[in-house]
Amino acid sequence: MNHCMSTHILTFLVFAPLFWGLLLLALPNRLALLTKYLAFIGSLGIFVIAALRLIPMLDSGSILFSERAPLFTLLNIPIDYHLSLDGLNIWLILLTTFLVPISIAGTWNSIKERPGSFFALFTILESCILGAFLANDLFLFYIFWEAMLIPMYFMIGVWGGAERKYAANKFIIFTLAGSLLWLVALLYLATQAGSFSPEIMAQTAMNLPFSKQCWLYLAFALAFAIKIPLFPLHTWLPDAHTEAPTAGSAILAGVLLKLGGYGFLRFAIPILPAAALHYAKPLAILAVVAIIYGALVAMVQQDIKKLVAYSSVSHMGFVMLGIASFTLIGTQGAMLQMLNHGISTGALFLLVGMVYDRAHTRMIVDFGGIASKMPIFTFFFIIVTLSSIGLPLTNGFIGEFLILNGTFVSGFTWGRVAAIVSVSGVLLGAIYMLWMVKRVFWGPENQEPKSGTAHLTSDLNIREIAVMTPLVILIFWMGLHHVTFTGASEEKINRMLDDIQAPPARTLLLNAPDQAQHGAQ
């Protein structure tokens, strides 16, 4: 293997989109079409390179790449340029690089005004997201974490819907509220540890009094919970999702929210394990509330996009529950659920965008009987819906099953109750999705001349089919052979759980360790 190249692949992944995006930003508005093509080709190229370089690493067991160089020392605290790729983030990296070209192709004609600038920002956003996923120095992570707000803010604020300014401001202020308080905790830990390296911070944190650890963990958790978003900090999400242009919603739901869950697994829990265990119960309760509440609110939505947005709250609640279970199955389920949600909700937003581009409305009442007018569209929508509901054979089922299983067998006393209550979330999920499908797709055609259905004159074109096909393939692949996606993170999570000394999983009803081993094979 060419060693030199392999050590710089991470830097390439982070900064290639940035430079590409800056280049595209410099192109004038009249070259918008060229900019779009260049953005698509560039992001596709990055995905291909990432896939070619990273997928072979999946088999090699413990991985992977790491790049480290001192960046600068500010007032006695060194800051490292430290990127690393391991089982925890490899699939998230692939998901990000995959979703960007998909979103660009999926919303090719949706952006009417200044599409060039939009897609340039989109590429820059990809760079920030990849940087945050790969950063293994908390200062570096923080910089990417905050920097990604800027392109996202403009994407919502400039190209969004009617309430775009409100949504964009709410998005940025909510996220900053969490991350600024987290910065204080981070600086406290850094001044104690003399470093921003997570390993050194973890050692320092161990020696702090427990009450301090708890405060620090709460600050970490606040930042990540807002991003996930966990009830009751979720209110920015429906606005941002609904107002953002389709590609923005897809990447927001598909990738940005994952940073919250990833932050817990990568930083919050390993650095402050004792406090994480201490707060497992409240987080799990909030997660259960999010699951139920998100589903109930989704049920009454009039706007399809808003419905999908609230379903995100519910689905990301599952992720939080899986993380809070502190079992291997539950955490792996959470990892898988993050990927699932990225694929299926990303796909749902793209589909909603496709119908919106044709009908210029997203209200459920404006539709009815789409199925006969757009059979191909209906086909894709139903598959993605079923995946979102969690039908067996699709990815949604595996993720939710693993999480519920993990929660049920977890050593916590509340585990079983939480699992049982959360199951109703799956049920509610089926209700709101299928009810929406019934009203929008089935039944007689909406005959009103001004209705959305009347405007649907064309089914999906080749481009849109080409966008949806890989997503559908992934939905089934993940449903049928989830080990491809969970195998990489198993070792890492196992080690993390060993360090935490979480209560051992019960083995009464389901033989949890066996199953996990079975999963790994």
């Binding site: 960046l71 200044r114 400039v158 600024l180 600086l187 406290y188 001044t191």
Partner: protein, 498 residues
């Protein structure tokens, strides 16, 4: 009288702009000069050349490592840093005035002369350890600013603003002078190092405490910290845009640099007084952060918003004094550098978009980000930096201050600080929203203001550069300024005795 090379070196950075300031009114004697472009070019060139030459001379001084002195004037590293700071701010202002005065149709050479005199005063303010000279320098840079504020009387509130600034400034000067008198009376010296030495020996007399407090008030007035801030918004609104930017950056900056000198080598030498002053500063910093930010949130006038935001930045800078370590002073200097770039960039937007008279509301810049993409992006970078979003210079300024604050155990203050910057996001987003997210009022072509536009662009680029390489500024400029420039009282007095 002949000067030794060392003495010449010490006063040359003052002399060059002062001589140029005397030349400019001669060049603009012609009463009809507004119509003659070449005269305008000449006077602006004189001003820029003088600033550039002084800047270059100070760079040479810095590189040689000399810290020359002449009498009570000492161009040590801290003063050299201040010289960079003042000359760059003044050059920014001159460039922006080039466009702004033409837009206001009021080109007079005197304005540049006053600006240069003010710069000399500012530099002197930071380069002396004698309290009498400090007071003279304070007046030397303040009085031209009072005049400059009222200078464009086409603006309705110009005279009112100038008068307000003058009256409140006079009160502050009185406080400052009274503080000097009390300190002199109690210690028998005007030299801050000797005063510091005396203070370190004695327990605090209430009169000394009063003197120190009055002196501090004088400084805080210039820094525009709450509750000495009321003059700020009106004065800034009345002043020509570049002058407002100059006041917000240079006045605040030199007041803080001089305060570092006085505080570290004099007031803080007595633990008791130092602690009391620190307590007072905690209260004032919190008040400044809260009031500055929340009042800024309520503004619809872009320029007034910038005025209130500059008050809130005084709050962050005061946090550095509360930490009070050498590292914290370095953080203050770093913050000042970033503040210079981002705030002069932000004020430059006003002239770059050609907002004249009182038309400085957010609605006046609607849609201009798309019409002038370069300035729009650079201005956005300035605002993001003012918010403190990485990877900009403003983020690192806040980061360093908060880090030192936390290291000294003031965690609650750090939390207040970050929450204040969260509030600041609310109003710094307003100009960004206006520039990009609101449709423009008309289809007229935006004003072309080449010099102001260039200053904004340079700011944007430098902010990003500084955000990518913060370490070089810190170790190259801020650390030597503090470590070599700031000699505390005990050191020098010991040396003198030996």
């Amino acid at each position: 009288m002949s000067l030794s090379p060392n003495e010449t070196a010490a006063i040359l950075p003052f002399a060059i702009p002062a001589i140029a300031a005397c030349l400019i009114p001669i060049a603009s004697l012609d009463r009809d000069h507004t119509s003659k472009k070449w005269i305008r070019v000449v006077i602006f060139c004189i001003a820029l050349l003088a600033l550039g030459f002084s800047f270059y001379y100070t760079v040479r001084l810095w590189e040689s490592g000399l810290q020359p002195a002449y009498g009570y004037i000492s161009m040590d590293r801290l003063a050299q840093f201040a010289a960079f700071f003042v000359f760059v701010s003044a050059a920014y202002t001159v460039l922006q005035l080039w466009d702004h005065l033409r837009q206001e149709d009021w080109v007079k050479g005197e304005i540049l002369a006053l600006l240069l005199f003010s710069s000399v005063g500012m530099l002197l303010f930071t380069a002396t350890s004698n309290l009498i000279l400090l007071f003279l320098a304070l007046e030397l840079f303040s009085i031209p600013l009072y005049v400059l504020t009222a200078t464009v009387h086409a603006r309705a509130k110009a005279l009112e603003g100038g008068m307000k600034y003058f009256l409140t400034g006079a009160v502050a000067s009185c406080c400052f002078l009274m503080g000097i008198v009390l300190l002199y009376g109690m210690t028998g010296s005007f030299d801050i190092k000797i005063i510091g030495f005396e203070l370190a020996k004695n327990n605090s007399d209430p009169l000394v405490l009063l003197g120190a407090a009055l002196l501090l008030m004088g400084f805080l007035f210039k820094v525009s910290a709450v509750p000495f801030h009321q003059w700020t918004p009106d004065t800034y609104e009345a002043a020509p845009h570049p002058i407002a930017g100059f006041m917000s950056v240079a006045t605040k900056g030199v007041a803080l640099i001089a305060l570092i000198r006085v505080f570290a080598s004099c007031i803080a030498q007595n633990a008791n007084i130092g602690n009391r002053m620190q307590t007072a500063m905690i209260v004032l910093a919190v008040l400044t952060l809260v009031i500055g930010n929340f009042t800024a949130l309520a503004q619809t006038n872009f320029k007034r918003m910038l005025a209130y935001s500059s008050i809130s930045h005084a709050g962050y800078l005061l946090l550095g004094f509360i930490a009070g370590t050498n590292e914290a002073y370095q953080a203050i200097l770093f913050y000042l550098c970033s503040y210079l770039l981002m705030n002069l960039g932000a004020f430059g937007v006003l002239s770059a978009f050609g907002l004249i008279g009182d038309n400085t509301h957010f609605r006046n810049i609607r849609g201009l980000g798309w019409k002038r993409p370069g300035i729009g992006i650079a201005a956005t970078i300035c605002f993001l930096s003012l918010m403190g979003i990485p990877p900009t210079a403003g983020f690192f300024g806040k980061y360093l201050l908060f880090k030192e604050l936390i290291l000294q155990g003031h965690i609650s203050l750090a939390i207040i600080g970050v929450l204040a910057s969260l509030v600041s996001v609310g109003y710094y987003l307003k100009p960004i929203m206006a520039m990009y997210m609101e449709p423009s009022q008309d289809n007229s072509e935006p004003v072309i203001a080449p010099m102001s536009g260039a200053t904004v662009l340079v700011s944007g680029v430098l902010i990003i550069l500084l955000g990518l390489l913060p370490g070089s500024l810190l170790s190259g400029l801020a650390r030597p300024s503090i470590q070599e420039g700031l000699i505390t009282a005990v050191d020098t007095v010991t040396v003198t005795i030996e």
